[in-house]
């Protein structure tokens, strides 16, 4: 278990404010955040490059041992920076064996441990597919080859902890995906514990077992991938690109708890929600407290109002859902889904829906087409401001 406890620091214009994250052994923890949020500073602090900074407070612990004051070379974390920092004066092989030459400069083969390690690196290099590059110059490598070499160099140390700073930046999508699979495979095979930075949502959710969202030097939320899908704060919702955020309030005048969404002019009972009112953080249950709720665009149900019977047959739950009548105002096709903007007739807001595009095409024929929208209350979540 690698953990930071109330880690705070300031380096130039970057702040870290009470960062507490924990990374169980043999898992990938992704730090997700916009640029300038302090992600790299956090990773460098964990790696041990900023440990003699005066204004560092808090602790970094590895399996219970406080390593906050350990120098970088004693932490046994392999760090891969954003630009990879492959040494340009060494060829691929010398880059990969850098850690070996540092620890065993005269290459004494009688050291059995070292011999095994050399074998280990060769197998590793073969698995990651860089063996044929050994005699190549760093400057002659392609982007994907560099990533692989950097990964092998990091693993050749024998370290089981990896710190990766946006390692797949600047690669084309196909290569990225290939390397995602490779990283996952290596992680499972060598039981690696990885902290990885990214600003890419897809990458974060593909690779991460745990996801922490870092915004302006603060951890906004830190939890398992399943839970991380749901943004807890407005800042995270914005980072995720969530469009459907509305004010809500609880109305108990009728004796029951009714959730009212004034912007959409809809209401439903508290029982329909997957979260309790307590989660909104109002223990005194103040009447008419305003809070925000969100729903992901892929959880929105859009259907043809002239075909209501058919949709009710397929999805009978729709009868219990709040529904809205309105128009489709915009339609955007993306690479593997379509985004639709829907405007309810009696409200002045837009709701965004994301559909697989063969369904979307069936529904959308022209701008201002009439449509109906249902909100599955199961997928509504509260957002803290």
């Amino acid at each position: 278990m690698l953990e930071t406890i109330n880690l705070s620091t300031r380096i130039q214009n970057f702040y870290l404010n009470n960062i507490s994250i924990s990374v169980p052994e043999n898992s990938i923890h992704v730090i997700l955040g916009p640029s300038g949020s302090g992600k790299t500073v956090l990773l460098e602090t964990i790696a041990g490059f900023n440990f003699n900074v005066k204004n560092l407070s808090g602790q970094i612990k590895l399996n219970g041992t406080d390593i906050t004051n350990f120098p970088a070379e004693k932490r046994n974390f392999s760090y891969v920076p954003q630009d990879l920092a492959l040494f340009p004066h060494l060829n691929v092989e010398d880059n990969i064996f850098f850690s070996h030459k540092i620890k065993n400069p005269y290459n004494i083969v009688s050291d059995t441990n070292n011999f095994i390690n050399k074998e280990f690196v060769t197998v590793l290099a073969n698995n990651i597919g860089v063996i044929s590059l050994f005699k190549r110059n760093i400057n002659s490598l392609s982007g994907g080859e560099r990533q692989r070499v950097a990964l092998v160099r990091a693993l050749a140390t024998g370290n089981r902890h990896l710190l990766l700073d946006e390692p797949f930046n600047g690669l084309h999508p196909g290569m990225r995906k290939e390397l995602w699979f490779l990283l996952k495979e290596m992680q499972e095979k060598y039981k690696l514990t990885i902290i990885m930075i990214t600003h890419d949502l897809e990458e974060a959710f593909f690779l991460g077992d745990f996801i922490s969202v870092l915004i302006d030097g603060q951890i906004e939320q830190s939890e398992s991938k399943q839970k991380a899908r749901i943004p807890k704060t407005l800042a995270v919702a914005k980072l995720y690109g969530l469009k459907n955020i509305f004010n809500a309030k609880i109305d108990k005048s009728s004796g029951m708890s009714i959730i009212n969404i004034p912007e959409l002019k809809i209401c439903f009972s508290e029982k329909q929600l997957q979260f309790s009112y307590n989660e909104i953080g109002d223990k005194n249950r103040h009447e008419n407290k305003v809070f925000k709720i969100g729903i992901r665009s892929e959880d929105i149900i859009l259907y043809d109002p002239e075909n209501t019977e058919a949709i009710k047959k397929i999805n009978p739950e729709i009868l219990d859902m709040p529904t809205l009548k309105g128009k489709i105002t915009s339609y955007f096709e993306k690479d593997h889904s379509a985004l639709i903007l829907f405007k309810p007739d009696n409200a002045n807001v837009f709701i965004e829906a994301e559909l697989v595009y063969h369904k979307a095409r069936k529904l959308y024929t022209e701008v201002n087409k009439l449509a109906s929208l249902a909100i599955d209350t199961k997928y509504i979540f509260p957002i803290f401001v």
Partner: protein, 245 residues
Amino acid sequence: MTFGIYFILILSLFYFLKPSTSFALLLSDRALYSLALSLLAATIATAMSVGIGLPTAYALSRYNFFGKEFIDTFLELPMVASPAALGAMLLIFFNNPIGSWINSHVNFVFTVTGVVLAQFITTLGIATRLIKTVIDEIPTRYENVARSLGATPLKAFTKVTLPLSRKGIISASILTWAKAFGEFGATITLAGSMPGNTETLPIAVFMRLSAADIEGTVIMILILIGIGLGLLYFYKMFAKRFPYA
């Protein structure tokens, strides 16, 4: 244009050369001694400047400490103070109690050691400044990665930063050497201008000119610029061929 101006200046030197006497002058003991002294003193002074300048430059480039800007400004001292003033400061230093005590053990005033010292003092700031620029150019990330791969700070420096900056340090050394080789003001002030003892090439130029020996002056100038420019040209060719040598 620039080349033209300098070339005409050099060409005009040959107007005063007579082949018959020129070679004799060139090979005279006095001229050869000046040449040998200049080469040796500049080499020792450069080695010292670069040797002390390298760790200083590294510290200034990599660490933040109290008074850093102040020290950094002091690197410019040899530029701000004229060479003669620098030489005078040295002379004055060797006349105070601490200075005279040092001078009674190792004699600097009007000696060959003085030549080396004067050249070292004038080039130290420049060497440090040049090397700092070289190290500034090398991202700290290389050292950081080396550290995470198990290298101590010293190993990270010798295995990564130093090889990466080798070319820059060589070029800084050559410029430092050229500066030391052509040093005049501080040298003549501290070490004097005794032929066959402390007379370096630039001093010989001045001495021969003041003795109205035009041909001798021209010969000295030609040796001076021949060696200086030749070295720089050789280095440029070398640097082109081996980018990380």
